[in-house]
Symmetry: C2
Subunit: 248 residues, 2 copies
């Protein structure tokens, strides 16, 4: 299933995409949902960030190709991305004028569906709602110079996700391609993650409670590409879709 | 005014404390409120964390006495504390069994009252709702060993605030005392902050939008005291009140 959040006729709603049609549903539908009976053509609606997470975490150092000279981490290494940095498909990523280098990072994003506190690796995947594409926009000079990565990773518009949440895929073997102005900037497969999704969820939930709608960006590969005002940036994940944003 | 959130007769509500009485109000009341007409004795209610912040930030390195050998930061140095780590007055701080050293940090907490994006230093204080006491509980081994301070500062129960939000005080000259089992562990005055509240709010809001209810922990002084299961920990701020928690 493809879950979306969208705007149509001035109102915001959740829905399910079937072919070229969006069937409106009640609520976010993490556990269950009912159809309202209204439908829209996919073309006619503006897609929004498909979920409204209360919190987001992202994984540092989770692909060997992104480690450069750093050693592989012994445990998952999350950091927070804050909800006010959320953006949707088609939204503008605002490049701050006072940062010298802002990069795009193409990532698979896990959306939590059930509250998770102290869950085991074996039970972790029962707490997943689905998967979407994410761009962990990163201001490198702030990441290097600040005590924490707060503005480096969570300035307003620095967390685009979308275009939808896909619920029925195996996330362990998906191709991810990042593109800037149509040219490939990153390529990897989710099988290359150092800490896989079940271990990551279990580890986080041992300390920090995960709630329905929370998002986990699972890490980026290789060397991320710099983005500048005017650029178009894409994150394509096989079996999920393509998230497209422009920069201003 | 003293704003509280409380539980009485199985229901949760907001209120205003006058003497020994809590007058119930509608909503959190950041911008305005109306009294419901119901009153309770202060003694009869269970006080909760006085606000439910969507996000919390805390300031690293904001008192000279806490810098030890580090240089004073040129700009405010925030990091995120996540809302699932919130705790209220009287709540238990859970000391993780797998951390070697957990400290209590006594801090003045600013509660935002109006959405703040790109506000000036001159306008910053117009966006403040009030002030409360906070304990920035910190697992030192995780703070030193992890890439980010996610679990070091935001494990569940690591962000107690309360007992109420005081709206009509000048925050620039308040005494803060931290106590562990009745013995003073920290002493400072808010006048010793390196980056004051208006500069901190303005700086943060230039990158990350602040929303009503958001909390900013303004930093800790000296050397924080270690807390262990069984300890009682207090944060007393002149003109605000005393936040008391136990550890388990």
């Amino acid at each position: 299933m493809k879950f979306v959040r969208f705007e149509a006729g001035g109102a915001t709603a959740y829905g399910i995409v079937e072919g070229d049609t969006v069937k409106e549903i009640s609520g976010p539908g993490y556990e269950s949902y009912s159809e309202t009976g209204k439908t829209h053509s996919l073309e006619s609606v503006k897609l929004l960030a498909p979920v409204l997470p209360k919190k987001m975490l992202a994984m540092a150092l989770n692909y060997g190709s992104h480690l450069h000279d750093a050693p592989a981490p012994e445990r998952p290494e999350p950091f927070f991305k804050i909800h006010t940095s959320l953006a949707g498909p088609g939204d503008v990523i605002r490049i701050p004028t006072d940062s010298e280098k802002v990069d795009a990072e193409s990532e698979l994003v896990v959306v939590i569906g059930k509250t998770a506190t102290g869950v085991s690796v074996a039970d972790a995947m029962d707490h997943v709602f689905g998967y979407t594409c994410g761009n962990d926009v990163s201001a490198r000079d702030w990441q290097a110079g600040d005590t924490s990565w707060w503005r480096a990773k969570s300035s307003d518009t620095f967390s685009p996700i979308g275009p939808w949440v896909v619920t029925d895929i195996d996330p362990s073997n998906l191709d991810i391609e990042g593109r800037i102005n149509g040219k490939a900037s990153q390529n990897c497969n989710t099988s290359e993650m150092i800490h896989d999704i079940p271990h990551t969820i279990a580890f986080i939930s041992n300390y920090v409670t995960l709630e329905p709608g929370d998002c986990i960006f699972t890490g980026t590969s290789g060397t991320a590409g710099q983005i500048r005002a005017g650029d178009t940036v894409e994150v394509e994940i096989s079996g999920v879709g393509t998230l497209i944003n422009t920069c201003a």
